[in-house]
């Protein structure tokens, strides 16, 4: 099975929790003409991790690194949900029953569907389970 086509390359950026850091990241994206599809901030005590799905992850990586940011890539998956009550439950149940842990997730509700972005501890197994239950996964190609 071609799991890789569902591996979406997310960029993660380490940021101190202080005014202007998000603006600096967003400005860098604008300067490079990089479009942001989905985006989340995880915050801890004094620092945070900005995670984003963008159309040109390599370009974003180069620009942010040049600005001195610490950036890494993480493979995530995007699951299309029914944009109605119970949509999230379906996805979460399938993974829970297969004993796959969700490390973090965020969602966006776009033109074509509501998409749940997931970072899981076993990405291949998660892809198989979701597809086996008739779920739809976003292909990485969509985000380019």
């Amino acid at each position: 099975m071609e799991h890789e086509k569902y591996f979406i390359k997310q960029i993660s950026v380490f940021s101190e929790n202080k005014p202007g850091r998000l603006a600096a990241i967003a400005k860098a994206m604008e300067d490079e003409g990089v479009n942001i599809f989905a985006f989340s901030i995880a915050e801890a005590d004094g620092f945070g991790v900005v995670r984003a799905l963008v159309n040109h992850p390599d370009k974003a990586y180069r620009k942010l690194t040049a600005l001195g940011f610490v950036v890494s890539f993480t493979d995530v998956i995007g699951v299309k949900m029914r944009d109605e009550p119970g949509g999230l439950y379906e996805v979460a149940r399938v993974l829970g029953e297969a004993n796959i842990n969700i490390e973090y997730s965020y969602a966006y509700s776009g033109k074509e569907a509501a998409v749940l972005i997931l970072r899981v501890d076993n990405i291949r197994s998660a892809i198989e389970k979701i597809l086996a239950h008739g779920g739809t996964l976003m292909e990485a190609a969509f985000f380019r």
Binding site: G68, S72, R119
Partner: protein
């Protein structure tokens, strides 16, 4: 390699006899010609005749930094305007600046001391030495400049700043040694990497003469491993003339030329000498200084000394790496904390960088210690829990080393201030 093997390897007893003669001469001269020192000796009830052995140095009164400040700019000088040939002025990081005057002989002694020291670091006439200490009122630049010229090396007088140009010149002129602060060398290494230059591979650099700020053995290891050079500790303060003494290639303590200086280590509270090997405050008497006499001067640096003969064959006493300053010491919730202890701890943690900042504050009548460290890019994890683990681990390591709780903040790499001169890493916001 020796600059003056006869003196440098002199038997200890002979060296001590020489020191006694020089001390006796110094004390008589000052009693006769220094109003300040004459008064000090009278107050202490001591006469030059009371100095009958080298050990009698303890009868003499101490000099403190405040004596130099109170007598600003030149009231302590024992040389005439005609005899003076130069002034240097200290940076004043701990208060009002102090002025040091030099006679021709003072400059000569200073230069010879450094010629011996640089030779002991394996440097000689084939070397190209980049002097990246500040030239001017600060003693570092000019001191090493003349020391390096004396041994016949070729000097590149770059002074501080203009880091990219320094790296270009280092490559183009084939510099083999650099004299600067350890924090500036780290900065220079980082800038070089950004320029695509590896100090290790793309330059002839083999020796660093590093000092003018406290640093640790871990920092030395990091510099040596990263830049592929041998890093030697240099010691001196402007009051003593400037940078004067270094380690030798054994890297096991700084040789203090006994014919220049009489070294003591005392308990900072009682002023009594501590045993060799025990830590205390460094006290120095510069035996042949003419313009600004320095007798039992309480420098404020914490170290220990040894009189054992070094493996290199030099017999002069050595002091160990400076581990802090009496007046740098922070008292946090009643516990003595030296910034060097924090540095020492951080150097042992690969997840964080070598730069740090300390913020001391008082909240609800309780002292707080915050240590800001830079996360190393290699240690970055997309998972918050992993980052929290690093933060907690750093906090625990600091707490066990300092025996006081430290809050930790993870900062972005490159975000903490870099220092081209003396590092200012401590902010104390407590209002006493």
């Amino acid at each position: 390699m020796f600059w003056d093997s006869k003196i440098e390897t002199m038997e200890r007893e002979e060296l001590e006899r020489l020191q006694y003669r020089l001390l006796k001469t110094l004390v008589y001269r000052l009693y006769s010609f220094s109003a300040f020192y004459h008064r000090r000796m009278e107050e202490a009830g001591v006469h030059p005749d009371d100095v009958k052995t080298l050990a009698d140095v303890v009868k003499l009164p101490f000099m403190f930094k405040r004596d130099l400040r109170d007598n600003y700019p030149d009231k302590l000088f024992t040389a005439t305007k005609e005899e003076l040939v130069r002034y240097h002025v200290s940076s004043g990081t701990t208060g009002k600046p102090t002025v040091v005057g030099y006679t021709e002989n003072d400059l000569e002694e200073w230069t010879v001391s450094l010629a011996r020291a640089l030779t002991s670091c394996g440097l000689g006439e084939k070397d190209v030495i980049q002097v990246s200490y500040g030239y001017g009122l600060f003693t570092g630049g000019l001191g090493l400049h003349y020391g390096a010229e004396r041994i016949g090396a070729t000097v590149i007088p770059t002074s501080v700043g203009g880091t990219e140009r320094q790296i270009e010149l280092m490559q183009d002129l084939g510099a083999t040694a650099i004299c600067c602060t350890p924090s500036y060398l780290l900065h220079l290494g980082e800038v070089a990497e950004k320029m695509g230059v590896s100090i290790r591979k793309d330059t002839k650099m083999r020796v660093g003469i590093l000092g003018a700020e406290p640093w640790t053995a871990e920092m030395r290891n990091r510099i040596q491993d990263w830049l592929g050079i041998k890093a030697y500790d240099i010691y001196g303060t402007s009051e003593l003339s400037g940078p004067l003494f270094t380690e030798c290639t054994e890297q096991n303590g700084i040789h203090i030329w006994g014919d220049f200086a009489l070294t003591e280590v005392v308990d900072p509270k009682t002023g009594e000498q501590v045993a060799d090997g025990e830590k205390g405050e460094l006290v120095m008497t510069i035996l042949k200084k003419e313009a600004l006499p320095i007798v039992r001067y309480r420098i404020g640096d914490i170290t220990s000394m040894t009189r054992e003969v070094c493996a290199c064959g030099r017999t002069h006493p050595r002091i160990m790496r400076i581990t802090g300053r009496v007046d740098d010491m922070l008292i946090i919730r009643g516990i003595n904390v030296f910034p060097s202890m924090i540095e020492h701890t951080l150097m042992g943690i690969p997840e964080v960088g070598q730069h740090f900042q300390i913020v001391v504050d008082r909240k609800h009548e309780l002292d707080t210690l915050l240590v800001r460290v830079e996360l190393k890019p290699e240690a970055f994890s997309d998972k918050i829990t992993e980052l929290m683990k690093i933060k907690e681990m750093v906090g625990k390591r600091l707490e066990s080393a300092l025996t006081v709780h430290a809050d930790v903040e993870l900062a972005e790499p490159g975000s903490l201030p870099r220092f081209e001169g003396k590092a200012k890493r401590v902010t104390d916001r407590r209002k006493m």
